[in-house]
């Protein structure tokens, strides 16, 4: 199965980007193009999920999956935090910030997993994209709760008020776009979607290739430029996703999800955020070192998940069934 994955153009473009950055090529994707692709991808998966839910209707599974997703995002940072402090040797502020990343999710890992699983006949349910949106932000709150009291208030700077933080968390651009496109998909339905389908459906995998090329470059550059990674942190950046993936897989199977959906729940649990959470942490815990959390989530966990993780978590689910 790993071989399957490794001959898929999507993964190969990621490897190409990663390789180009490692040999210090000057290949680079303009920032605006990268952002444009991520907006396109989020709109496309949101729409697709919404249409599928409009077709299939709400179900008990959906409710269970939502609960599971919320719970995972909220609780996974807790063991992560203690591992990061004890085993990783991080200061509490840094550990809290990193933990929030591992509770939250990576949209690109989700999309890549969806493509790979669908290619193997394990298509996840349409509502899983909504579950992903749900999982983006609880981990941020959870990470900040872990830091409560640990963080000396800086003189002269008023503490971020909780309502302000909650607002930031729920009005986060990617959450709004995912949820908004999901609702548009539900309202428009299959017929309403038909006219816009050529862009959002047909072009999807090709754009994903180019976006993963970009992510490969970004991940490898982050890895090269990071000076904050110690061996324990590298180990944790692989062990935590495997551990979280296993918990996600077990939970998915336990609540009776179909194999594809359970696998994608595992992928979501295993993946670590590198867009929404870093931005939130930068603002809420500026003392935490972005060099640590970006290197771990983007430099190690993300490539690990794309190349090996997805296949591993799918295998876990199939062994548990």
């Amino acid at each position: 199965m790993i071989v399957d994955t490794l001959t898929s153009p999507i993964i190969l473009f990621f490897v190409l980007g990663f390789f180009a950055a490692l040999i210090k090529s000057d290949l680079s994707i303009p920032e605006a193009f990268g952002k444009a692709m991520s907006i396109y991808l989020m709109a496309a998966i949101g729409l697709k999920g919404g249409i599928e839910v409009a077709e299939a209707g709400f179900s008990v599974q959906l409710a269970w999956a939502a609960l599971a997703g919320l719970g995972l995002s909220f609780l996974l940072p807790v063991p992560a935090y203690f591992l990061l402090v004890r085993f990783g040797g991080l200061k509490p502020v840094d550990a809290g910030a990193v933990a929030a990343h591992y509770g939250s999710v990576s949209v690109v890992t989700f999309v890549t997993a969806q493509e790979i699983l669908t290619g193997r006949g394990l298509e996840p349910a349409g509502y899983m994209v909504a579950i992903m949106a749900l999982m983006e932000t609880p981990a941020i709150i959870s990470g900040l709760l872990l830091l409560q009291g640990k963080k000396a208030p800086t003189p002269g700077v008023p503490k971020q008020s909780t309502t302000k933080l909650l607002h930031e968390v729920f009005s986060n651009g990617s959450v709004i776009l995912l949820v908004g496109a999901f609702l548009i998909g539900m309202v428009a339905g299959k017929d309403g979607f038909a006219p816009v389908k050529p862009l959002f459906d047909t072009g999807f995998r090709g754009v994903l290739c180019l976006f993963l090329l970009d992510m490969g470059l970004v991940a490898a550059r982050r890895l090269i430029q990071s000076r904050k990674l110690t061996l324990p942190l590298i180990v944790l950046a692989i062990a935590m996703p495997v551990m979280n993936g296993m918990i996600g897989a077990a939970l998915g199977v336990a609540i009776g999800l179909d194999p594809g959906s359970a696998a994608i729940l595992a992928v979501l649990a295993a993946s670590a955020s590198y867009i929404a959470v870093p931005a939130a942490m930068r603002l809420a815990v500026p003392e935490a070192d972005p060099g640590v959390y970006l290197s771990m989530s983007l430099g190690i966990t993300f490539p690990f998940n794309i190349i090996f993780g997805i296949t591993i978590y799918a295998a876990m689910v199939q062994m548990m069934l």
Partner: protein, 103 residues
């Protein structure tokens, strides 16, 4: 010839996500405005970085504000405690402006 007066030119190299914190301070000390300049890349104690990165969490900008001596001093006093934790680079220079009363 036009009359000019001396004002302070405050320049802060700052992580883009932290800009709102400083803007709040600028408003608090009643400085009349600010401009955010686009920084493409850079390097420092923490290594080098480029702007073209999807996360945006590591992007940097330069905040520029022109202000009177007094307001500049008030801003510097507010920023000083977070200079290290927030990894800011703050410089203050002298410039001549016309109609200095608006700063």
């Amino acid at each position: 010839m036009v009359d000019t007066v001396i004002r302070k030119r405050i320049e802060i190299v700052i992580d883009t996500p932290l800009i709102p914190i400083i803007i709040n301070m600028i408003k608090a000390v009643d400085i009349s405005g600010w401009s955010v300049i686009h920084v493409d890349s850079g390097g420092g104690r923490d290594g080098e970085w480029q702007h073209d990165d999807v996360t945006g969490a590591a992007a940097k900008s330069i905040l520029l504000a022109i202000a009177s001596d007094e307001k500049a001093q008030a801003l510097v006093d507010r920023i000083e405690p977070i200079l290290e934790t927030h990894r800011l680079l703050l410089t203050v220079g002298n410039v001549q402006v016309i109609r200095g009363d608006k700063f």
